[in-house]
Amino acid sequence: MQSPAEIVPHSGGVIGVSWLMIALPLLGAAILLLGGRRTNKWGHFLGVAMSLGAFVVAVLSFMELLGLDPDQRRRGFELFEFIPGMVNLGMLIDPLSISFALLITGVGSLIHIYSVGYMSHDRDRRRFFAYLNLFVAAMLLLVLSDNYVGLFIGWEGVGLASYLLIGFWQHKPSAATAAQKAFIVNRVGDFGLLIGIFTIWTTFGSLAFGDLTHEVTGQASQGTLTAIGLLLLLGACGKSAQLPLQSWLLDAMEGPTPVSALIHAATMVTAGVYLVVRSGAFFEAAPTAQLVVTIVGVATLLAGAIIGCAKDDIKKGLAGSTMSQIGYMMLGAGLGPAGYAFAIGHLITHGFFKANMFLGAGSVMHAMNDEVDMRRYGALFPVMKITAVTFIVGYLAIIGFPLLSGYYTKEGIIETAMHHNAILGWLAVLGAGLTGFYMSRMVFMTFFGKKRWADDAHPHESPAVMTWPLIILAIGSIGLGAFLVLGNRFMTFLSPAVGLPADVPEPHVFGVGPAALATLALVAAGAAFAWFRYGAAQVPALAPRGSFLTTFARRDLYGDALNEALLMRPGQWLTRIAVFFDNRGVDGLVNGLAAGIGGTSGRLRRVQTGYVRSYALSILFGAAAVVGALLYVGNI
């Protein structure tokens, strides 16, 4: 067991200007948003340039980091004082954050490039790139901050970018609603994260990652630590679409496809995993919280897989798969240092192959007049070979085809889980089998079988600006897993940031353990079943009614219905009651008082008859009363 290294104050070098990673895209976003139509012509190039610039800085920082001793690889430095006496904004460049930074800027840049082609017909392309840049900046702030407040700023920043991008086609009510839903559900998670941060502050008096080491967290009570863990998990669930806050992710597919690839597959949704790993000092000290993390992970990986099995919308199918894969990562993150490397590794490989598949799906949609229903696809392999091949590479990676990226990272998670808790492990294996089924279903329905195209569909291969990113991502999908996992390369690299487990497992090129073999068998069975149902057999162009289970999956496991029944409806009633109470109750009381006074005076004013003589009478009575009083008092 090895604890993370201390953070070393840093100055100079590329790392010293690593804040440029955040500043460049932010600047790009600002120029594009404030520049207005003047920047329409070259706006997308600026966006790509800024993203690439950030990537270059990330790579250089990475190189510089590699040049240091492993225990010197956590470099931190302060940018400026944010809230005096509480927290300063600063950068933390360590193996964990730089891995994320590379993924974000790397995949992000590819998606930027891809978007130049994908969005070429949209008159608001400039705005799109502005939002993308904004997202990259916020996401980098999230992972590069050296404290929870900076992380939270980035956390909500990516939420905003996600909101803007889901609702990019805001004139569509469905897009606007989906955007709003995503933001609000995320806010529920943010609420948890916020309270978690409060608890950390009040308990430990600091919010900087560097201060919150294992020794420090060990001093707090178990209850506090569990509470912190669960609150942070709630935040992670919101951002990473884990149960019970998963419902927004499927709707988020309303956004343009590059957005789905970048934000809702490769990067933003993995922020929850980052949070859990980054907060390892709390989770490792609170086993209960860790257990909950793993349970949530497993539940979500199964739920996502089940949803993925039933979706005919290619993007929603991929979204379900994303949920499921993040469930794996969450499971890994909940397993402590042993799982961290696999979780993050899977995160990175997933970033590649899922982005690859999303962009591939985008390419297909691009070719099919934005049709998303897989039942209207079929036999696309011959017409768009590059897209199909890259997609299939991604597919093989995700189902864990031996020797491809996903195989190593996912196997790692399953093995570790099995080691940790057999039930969780076998459930994860089951999930892998389901993955094999639904991903195969998707591939068969899209690229093979018979044509079920709409009449006006003329599929064609996408332009080079779109296919090259696919190719690059496909290469990553093939080799990255082996590169990271074999020889525990990634685990060693990460160890200064997250620590090492007591017993480091020795990864195999091809696992032969019972779990590995069972996984392979189940995946193969799933794929075969999918071939049987969707490859060889005729696929109806209209979705059949399906069994109860199918409906259950199609309706997102009734997640929305549940939210609606449990939260939305009562919320609407509550709102109505509150408004009524405010108008009639609180204000009614006030107005009633006013009306009462008005009524009383309305009656009293009748005394003012206008007859002088009545007034005179009262004057005389008054005079008599005065005289009487004088007599009584003065006793005259």
């Binding site: 003012q608 206008g610 002088v612 009478l617």
Partner: protein, 98 residues
Amino acid sequence: MTTHYLVLSALLFAIGGAGVLIRRNAIVVFMCVELMLNACNLAFVTFARQHGNLDGQLIAFFVMVVAAAEVVIGLAIIVMIFRTRRSASVDNANLLKY
């Protein structure tokens, strides 16, 4: 004797007051007010003699002056009201109410 004068004054004052309350003709009401003022003057004059100085008489004098001014204005107002409303009844001039 002082007491007698004062009682007479009080009596006249009260009668004047009752007159103001009972009569509706503005001019008569006005006369009753004058009666009350006169009653007061009587009391003042009486007190002047009782206390052996001229202050009471002085006040009575000023009261007379003011009363004269008041009568002038009051009657002018009555005439004006009569001109517009064709009535000298104080009850008819009751628009200034609730």
